[in-house]
Amino acid sequence: MRICNSPIDPDKLRQLLTDDAAGGFVAFEGWVRNENEGQGVLRLEYEVYAPLAVKEGAKIIEEAMAKFPILRADCVHREGLLEIGECAVWVGVASAHRDEAFTACRYIINEIKLRLPVWKKEHYVNGDSGWVNCERCAAHAHPKRKLAG
């Protein structure tokens, strides 16, 4: 598990997971999209608390290795300012057979999204910006969205 502030190179990461016993490899790439909840997005800013993100990410990968019969797994998350189309997160899993690679890859990305201390600020076409998942900030950026609770 790594946090990096330069572009992710999926080919290089994939090479690090090669294993003679592996018959399948699954990767997930999370990309920066140009829209969220009807708002045009220009770019994203990721804030990461790296000491804990690395620790928590490593724990998630260990959990996946223990839960599923896979051979290798890794994850890299970006921080800083990202443009549309850039890869924000990469997860790769190699295993003897494809099913467990798909399952473990999904497990890792889902847990990463739920548990990693990472925050995302969207910069909108209209000049506003807002932290994703922060209701108070989102209410400002998305005036039509109702405040929860």
Partner: protein, 81 residues
């Protein structure tokens, strides 16, 4: 009894507080108390369950006890990936 702790704010919490870190003296028994007592600082109305907390770089539950000298990290709802 008041405890002197260092609090670190992240993302929207930091922007609201205007600082990333400060030392406070608060009558807090648990991490959850810290969050509630510092509402004016982080500005969040989010329920505790939506946010996360770490003490001295370990993720902990909101009912974890805080002691003098702890560094309490208040995390807004995460949004990685």
């Amino acid at each position: 009894m008041n405890k002197t702790i260092t609090v670190r704010y992240f993302a929207g919490f930091r922007e609201h507080a205007g600082v990333g870190e400060e030392t406070v003296s608060v009558p807090a028994a648990t991490a959850g108390d810290v969050y509630e007592l510092l509402k004016d600082r982080h500005g969040s109305e989010e329920p505790l369950g939506h946010c996360k907390v770490a003490i001295n770089d370990e993720m902990v539950d909101w009912n974890t006890e805080v002691v003098d000298g702890d560094t309490v990290l208040l995390f807004p709802p995460v949004a990685g990936g």
